[in-house]
């Protein structure tokens, strides 16, 4: 057997992780707005199409056409960056994670290929008709193209999230000792796993929040400037309905995702909660003094200091029972008895069994190459099969490597949930004020007026033009907050998975390519420079386009 000594320094691993994190974070700045604006511009154009078919006045039809075109123009400015940052991610699995690409490519490659065939072509074909086909196709076909652009983008999200969900919860596969890789055994299990469905719903719905908050913010800016009032009022009405449904939907799907994480990634849940020592009747931590960048001494501390918690809530949310068992970091490392009476092995035991699996596989391959008898091969395979579930642990040298960065997970989770709650409040408030909802609208206005947050003169009228000025500014501030929450969600998802590229199967140091740290550092800096410059230009163009406003019909 040829055994190549590879001089890869540890710097390569962390630079590769940093590069993937950088490119993914930048990509996720643009994709949610694409998905969210796609929904809103689809609704706007549907209204235009209905008005056109109903032969309403030229002014009304023209207004809705220009409103649709306005949001599509802003969509287009953002769409390009989503595409540009996306291509890097597709190929980065190969460039920086070549071991990963071979070991799990049999399963992971398929969703990426399907994404290209089914989703990307739909998106890229119909976006051209949407942008340039107003005078070349019928109104109905154009409307269909607008929706198909959004559907294509959403289908693309589906397939890449199937791939990511599989990283978190690898199902539908078996390790093949002869081909030395994991191989797919059920496409349905991979594509329709509970993790995939939860992740897709939560991620896409959260993207609709971004689209909604963006539209509300732009519209509120116009109301502040007393420009394009009709577009602003009508766009707010569409966006706030999308926003409140999405914000509530994100909360619900987030809860379901949390329950999935409790079952499939208990260490991630423990890190998110800074739960050093678990048990039954666990409370949900609202806040605690957790250092965001230093790993706390979880082995020796009972719990995070200054912890404020909601009693029983963690057990309830994770297990649907206030007495449910939730393991902490030390429980997972030291082993614990599950509620069903079975034993979760300790980290030391998993590491030992992982090394046994690796050794047995090595012996099997050597024996096979030497033409050993079937009985010997069967014996080695039997040892391997008994321990293969812990194969990935065989690469772990110290159990502290199994604990993800607790501080970052803890604060990212709280940021996401905190801003998420704020968004529900924000959209709820705008909904009450923008529409005339029996009882609630009047109650909200009178309440705001009573506590001095609203001019009394506006207490008995409704409509977005009569919202308090501070709320217009709040809408604008909600945009960066919503983005921070959105990115924080991904930090939890991916940092909480560390050190695994595939949960329990392949740690990061067994997944990288053979590259010098300097090469990866250089491409990291180039991507940082390029994407930051492009982001700056996009923001500049977007602000100019918003300032220019829609063309008056």
């Amino acid at each position: 057997m040829q055994n190549i000594l590879l001089n890869i320094d540890a710097g390569t691993i962390d630079w590769s992780r940093a590069q993937f994190a950088l490119t993914a974070i930048y990509h996720w700045l643009f994709v949610p707005l694409t998905l969210g604006l796609a929904l809103i511009m689809g609704i706007c154009e549907t209204i235009y199409y209905k008005k056109l078919r109903a032969a309403e006045s030229t002014q009304t039809v023209g207004f809705w056409k220009e409103t649709s075109k306005f949001w599509q123009r802003l969509f287009g400015i953002n769409f390009a960056m989503g595409v540009a940052t996306g291509i890097i991610l597709e190929f980065e699995f190969g460039t920086n994670w070549s071991n990963y690409s071979w070991l799990v490519g049999d399963i992971f490659g398929a969703p990426l290929a399907v994404e290209g065939i089914v989703a990307f072509f739909m998106e890229s074909t119909f976006v051209a008709v949407m942008f340039f086909g107003w005078k070349k196709v019928s109104a109905g076909f154009h409307l269909a193209s607008t929706w198909l652009t959004g559907i294509g983008a959403t289908l693309s999200a589906w397939w890449i999230l199937v791939a990511n969900a599989w990283m978190q919860n690898p199902v539908g596969c078996e390790f093949n000792p002869d081909t030395m890789r994991n191989e797919m055994t059920s496409f349905a299990d991979v594509a329709l796993s509970s993790s995939a469905v939860d992740k897709f719903l939560h991620t896409v719905i959260s993207a609709w929040i971004i689209g909604a908050v963006f539209v509300v913010a732009v519209s509120c800016w116009y109301l502040l400037k007393k420009r394009h009032t009709e577009l602003a009022v009508k766009s707010i009405r569409i966006a706030v309905v999308v926003g409140i449904i999405a914000a509530l939907g994100a909360a619900f799907t987030g809860h379901i995702s949390g329950q999935d994480v409790a079952k499939t990634q208990p260490m991630k849940l423990a890190a998110m909660e800074a739960l050093y020592n678990g048990g039954t009747d666990q409370g949900l931590t609202a806040i605690a003094l957790v250092n965001p960048i230093c790993q706390p001494d979880y082995a020796n501390e009972e719990s995070a200091p200054l912890k404020v918690e909601m009693p029983y809530f963690l057990s309830l949310m994770a297990t649907n029972s206030i007495h449910g068992y939730v393991p902490g970091i030390n429980d997972i490392l030291n082993g614990y008895t599950r509620p069903d009476g079975t034993r979760e092995p300790s980290a030391d035991e998993k590491i030992a069994r992982g090394k046994q699996a690796i050794a047995a596989l090595q012996a099997y391959r050597l024996a096979k190459a030497e033409g050993a008898s079937d009985s010997i091969l069967t014996a080695q395979l039997s040892i391997f099969n008994e321990n293969k579930d812990y194969f990935g642990y065989g690469y772990v040298t110290d159990k502290s490597q199994l604990v993800p960065p607790i501080g970052l997970n803890f604060w990212a989770f709280r940021t996401m949930v905190g801003v998420g709650c704020l968004l529900i409040l924000f959209f709820g408030l705008v909904l009450m004020l923008a529409f005339k909802i029996p009882f609630f609208s009047v109650f909200t206005r009178r309440l705001l007026s009573a506590i001095g947050l609203m001019d009394e003169a506006h207490a008995d009228v409704h409509g977005a033009t009569r919202m308090p000025v501070w709320l217009y500014w709040a809408a604008i501030i909600m945009v960066p907050l919503a983005y921070i929450a959105s990115e924080s969600g991904w930090l939890v998802a991916e940092l909480g998975r560390q050190p695994w590229t595939i949960q329990d199967m392949l740690p990061t140091w067994a997944a990288v390519s053979d590259l010098q740290a300097g090469s990866v550092a250089l491409t990291f800096i180039l991507f940082l420079g390029l994407f930051t410059a492009m982001l700056g230009i996009e923001i500049s163009i977007m602000l100019k386009q918003i300032k220019k406003g829609p063309k008056e019909s």
Binding site: M1, Q2, N3, L5, L6, D9, A10, I13, G76, A80, A84, G86, I87, E90, G94, T95, S98, N99, S101, W102, L103, G105, D106, F108, G109, L112, A113, G116, I117, F120, F121, M122, S124, T125, F126, A128, F132, K136, M180, E183, M184, I358, Q362, R365, G394, Y395, A510, S513, D514, L515, Q516, S519, L530, M534, I537, S540, I541, M542, K544, Q545
Partner: protein, 384 residues
């Protein structure tokens, strides 16, 4: 469907995607000449908008080509992308620049100005076809890598990587092989040839079309010379064959044998070459004042057919499609680098969607190109 059939089928699909990609690189070809075709800002904007209605097809085909290669031959994806790091990174950087250039170049708030982004389009227009053509050449010329899957079992290694590029250039060493450069330049000039044919077909500006028809000759001649040189070299060179046990060996005139053993491919190659020549000739021979506009279609179809045949020659008929110059036995074949039978079979059913995808692409393409692009449309309708 046997495992062998599926392996051959997926090499065909990957080759077809590669061939369509080369055709669609007429976008890159036309972009590389944006400043010489359009002498005024309006003229350059017209050229950019002409390719701008098609750039996403090329981009998406490149992405899908990568995805399909990953899904069907993951060991190639892992070895080539992880090994030839710098070659692929330069290709990707140029395409990233292209993706934003269309949208940003003419917008208010573009602090870099339209020229900067048009230069990015020129850069991608040159580097994209050149380096992708060079990458394809390595299928025939070989690359400096080793693969040892059992390295993953070395749990004491800092990182148990299974593939390793033989030198620190990580892919740039391919450009030192003159034949890699020959094919890369051939693809680049082919892209420019197709680009001029596309502009003549698509743009309603006599000056731009006239300049395009002049440049057609300037691109077609080097393309033909380089392509014929490479084809002759290919058919006469040693190739990388493997036997039933998987052992790789050098076979003289391997690619010529592949062509003769698979005679339908020989016929297809002749058809493809004739179509490309016809598409070029039909534009060159007509007088300046009367453009046929039709050259892009035979040239485009001919390109797809010709490149398809070349790629099939690389992988079918017991040929190692990714030869290793470091250790011959580590060369990749469609048998030793492919996904499992289950995955290939599952993906086979997905690939049946491809005709539907092509159908709506053709339909939308015809709708968008129902009229030639005019300055009036750029000035008054939605445009880049």
């Amino acid at each position: 469907m046997t495992y062998s059939f599926l392996q051959h089928y997926w090499w065909f699909i990957v080759s077809l995607l590669g061939a369509i990609l080369v055709f669609l690189m007429f976008v890159q070809g036309a972009n590389s000449m944006v400043r010489s075709l359009g002498w005024t800002p309006e003229g350059r904007r017209l050229v950019v908008n002409s390719t701008g209605r098609k750039w996403e097809f090329t981009f998406t085909t490149l992405v899908t080509f990568g995805g399909a290669f990953f899904a069907s031959f993951p060991l190639f994806y892992s070895t080539s992308f992880g090994g030839a790091y710098w070659l692929w990174m330069i290709i990707l950087f140029s395409f990233v620049l292209q993706a934003v250039s269309y949208e940003f170049q003419n917008k208010l708030g573009n602090i870099l100005g339209p020229s900067t982004f048009q230069w990015f389009l020129v850069l991608n227009g040159i580097l994209g076809p050149l380096l992708l053509g060079g990458a394809v050449a390595t299928f025939f010329e070989g690359s400096n890598f080793v693969v040892e899957k059992s390295n993953i079992l070395d749990a004491t290694a800092l990182t148990p990587v299974i593939s390793h590029w033989g030198n620190a250039s990580h892919g740039l060493d391919a450009l030192l092989n003159p034949w890699v450069l020959v094919l890369g330049l051939a693809v680049m000039f082919l892209a420019r040839t197709l680009g001029t044919l596309y502009i003549i077909n698509n743009v309603d500006d006599e000056d731009i079309r006239s300049r395009a028809s002049v440049r057609l000759v300037g691109c077609a001649v080097p393309f033909l010379l380089l392509f014929v040189a490479y084809l002759v070299h290919l058919l006469l060179k040693d190739g990388f064959a493997y036997d039933a046990s998987g052992a790789i060996f050098i076979e003289p005139n391997k690619y010529l044998h592949n062509l003769l053993d698979q005679w339908p491919l020989l016929l297809l190659l002749l058809v493809g070459v004739v179509l490309v020549l016809w598409g070029i000739a039909v534009e060159v021979i007509t007088t300046r004042s009367r453009f046929t506009n039709k050259g892009i279609w035979p040239a485009g179809i001919g390109t797809v057919v010709t490149v398809l045949v070349l790629l099939l020659l690389a992988g079918w008929n017991m040929t190692a499609y990714y030869p290793s110059t470091a250790d011959l036995q580590m060369s990749l074949t469609i048998e030793n680098s492919c996904s499992s039978e289950f995955t290939l079979r599952t993906m086979f059913w997905v690939s049946l969607l491809v005709p539907f995808v092509l159908a709506y692409i053709v339909y939308c393409w015809r709708k968008i190109d129902s009229r030639k692009l005019t300055h009036d449309e750029i000035a008054h309708d939605e445009a880049y």
